[in-house]
């Protein structure tokens, strides 16, 4: 579960200053849970619900949540603890010299997962800020696991198996697969993370976020070269805009006039 700066709150002018320094300072921007990670967390909860609802199903699914970040990143973990995640962990990797380091992120997650031996590792397809799309695949390689991308649903399917639906190109594929594996989650409609009740939050106060120190993890070797960011440029999508404010009829006439001028028939 990653927290990311809310990009919509960043003023346009700040992007330009970020480009000049090759590093964007988001310390003042409110943080939100990464939307893809949120969907992944909700899919896991639905799978847990399904497992416990099945009559006579002895399989118990337990889930942990992990984030890499500072103390501000703990808030979504406390939400997940309230929603039924057993263990919630934070790795404080410290201030990185490089703004983008998916290779190190994958090493940290791999070190943690090897310690705990998970059957299923669910994560967002890409983070909303850097969006490198590298971490899940680096992680799968470190752990020697298959990876299924762009999952839209997860269901328990017996011992060591899950039933998964995922997008592959223009196809939607549903099949039963063996665990362990890595699963990434992208755009899943109607999959916002549920909101815990006050009772759930109070009950979860005993389940504190556990801090994990990178030095105590057995990190795998990167095994590859990491790309190095050397330049950032803003993207100018602006046009020579005509602004208009008036009645709805006047606005409609303005649209028709522009279309006529440009030879577009509605």
């Amino acid at each position: 579960m990653k927290t990311v700066p809310d990009m919509d709150k960043v003023p346009d002018a700040d992007w330009a200053s970020g480009a000049a320094s090759c590093r964007c300072d988001f310390s003042y921007v409110p943080k939100i849970p990464d939307p893809y990670c949120e969907s992944g967390a909700e899919l896991v909860l639905r799978m847990m619900d399904e497992a416990s609802a099945k009559a006579g199903d002895a399989q118990v699914i337990t889930a942990d949540a992990l984030t890499i970040g500072d103390r501000l990143a703990e808030k979504p973990l406390r939400t997940l603890a309230a929603l039924g995640y057993r263990g919630v962990y934070r790795i404080d990797a410290g201030e990185s010299e490089t703004p983008f380091d998916p290779s190190y992120t994958a090493q940290l997650i791999a070190g943690f997962c090897q310690r705990e031996q998970y059957d299923l590792i669910v994560m967002g397809m890409e983070s909303f800020d850097e969006g490198s799309r590298l971490v899940p695949y680096y992680l799968a390689e470190h752990l020697g696991l298959p990876c299924i991308t762009d999952a839209v649903s997860l269901s328990p399917a017996g011992e060591d198996r899950i039933r998964i639906s995922f997008r592959l190109g223009d196809d939607l594929i549903t099949e039963t697969v063996k665990t362990p594996l890595v699963v990434t989650v992208g755009d899943v409609p109607s999959c916002l993370l549920r909101v815990p009740t006050l009772r759930q939050r109070n009950a979860a106060k005993r389940n504190a976020v556990q801090l994990v120190e990178p030095a105590k993890l057995d990190l795998p070797a990167p095994g590859h070269g990491a790309p190095r960011l050397i330049r950032l440029d803003t993207i100018d999508q602006s046009r020579q805009t005509q602004r208009f404010e008036g009645s709805a009829e006047e606005a409609a006439r303005k649209i028709l006039a522009l279309c006529q001028e440009r030879g577009i028939s509605l």
């Binding site: 939307p35 755009d187 606005a251 006439r253 509605l266």
Partner: protein, 349 residues
């Protein structure tokens, strides 16, 4: 420099048992990209990873299909890699011996290409990056540009360790009239042969072996007919954003689109709220379009969304928020209620 171009996954179309005989990139844009990167077709090889039934030698692909695909490859050397399903780790096992002496390995856009690029870099000790818009050589390093920070910025990355494993941006799968016209003008494209016998190419066939334990007998595949083709080819698009307010609002937008002869698209919040299906999504995760006109109603204009319509000739934005970023990205920015304005528009036109 030796390069390899990998079409990461070409599925068989089960609905008609025919292949989609197309490569996952626009030929002209790819040619321009290779040329700009200083790559010559004779120095490269194309590997096409095709979905094939494990029991059949070539699965659903006829010789004519393979011939057609090979003819579209930008290199003389073509390798067909047949795999019953997409399993990135296993396909990489088969790819590894095929790219041993490559300096640069380019993978087609999408999650499959991203996965293969990343895994191959780790297996070869090289370096990787995804969704590249362009690249160039500099002092024995590769400089790659791609969008980052949710599409707000373009970053340039330096890859040092070879082989450089790079997956391409989805925008390169869309035709660009400027590029196509430029290629016609320079008359540099000699690869547009209309027919090319397999025997004239250096062609190889390989298979990805998968153990029986991976054969999923309960596999269900639903082919989602590309209604995003309708969006990609539409002349007029009506794009609905979060400001339409509800599923009912999205339905209303749909009615307006029909009356205006427009194709309906939308931004991410609309599909995530399930007000419209995923195939209506515009942007980096959805359709990339180049219509004559797009009318944007109630969308803030986030870069990831706007990338889907930035090639439009004319953009008209209707929004109650004068400070929404779309209001600077449109040719005509109207402050007002989209419902009232479109009602008038459909009556007056």
């Amino acid at each position: 420099m030796r390069f390899v171009l990998v079409a990461s996954w070409i599925p068989a179309d089960p609905s008609e048992n025919k292949t989609k005989a197309s490569l996952p990139w626009d030929a002209d844009r790819l040619s321009a990209l290779l040329s700009a990167g200083g790559l010559r077709p004779e120095d490269g090889e194309t590997i096409l990873i095709l979905e094939s039934d494990a029991d059949a030698d070539r699965g659903a692909f006829s010789d004519a299909d393979l011939n057609g695909l090979a003819a579209k490859a930008p290199t003389a050397a073509v390798t067909f890699l047949m795999s019953p399903r997409f399993r990135g780790d296993m396909i990489c096992d088969a790819l590894l011996p095929l790219i041993t002496d490559a300096d640069l390995v380019l993978f087609s856009a999408g999650a499959s290409g991203d996965e293969l690029a990343c895994r191959m870099s780790r297996r070869t000790g090289g370096s990787s990056i995804t969704a590249a818009n362009s690249f160039s050589l500099c002092d024995d390093c590769l400089l790659v540009s791609r969008r980052t920070y949710a599409g707000h910025m373009t970053g340039t990355w330096q890859l040092s360790q070879k082989p450089w494993c790079v997956s391409l941006s989805r925008t390169l799968s869309q035709p660009d009239t400027a590029v196509t016209e430029a290629l016609k003008t320079t008359d540099s494209s000699e690869t547009s042969e209309t027919s090319f016998a397999l025997s004239h190419r250096q062609v190889r066939f390989h298979h990805v072996c998968q153990p029986d334990s991976l054969q999923a007998s309960d596999r269900i595949r639903t082919h989602q007919e590309a209604s995003d083709n309708a969006l990609s080819e539409a002349d007029i698009i009506l794009a609905a954003g979060r400001g339409v307010g509800s599923a009912r609002g999205a339905l209303k937008a749909s009615e307006y689109a029909e009356k205006l002869g427009a194709c309906l698209g939308c931004s991410r919040p609309v599909v995530m709220s399930a007000w419209l299906p995923m195939d209506r999504l515009l942007g980096v995760s959805g359709s990339l379009t180049s219509p004559r006109l797009v009318i944007v109603c109630g969308a803030s204009g986030a870069p990831a969304f706007f990338t889907g319509i930035e090639s439009a000739e004319t953009v008209i934005a209707i929004n109650t928020d004068t400070d929404a970023s779309i209001m600077n990205k449109a040719d005509l920015a109207i402050t007002g209620d989209w419902n009232e304005i479109l009602t008038q528009l459909t009556q007056l036109r």
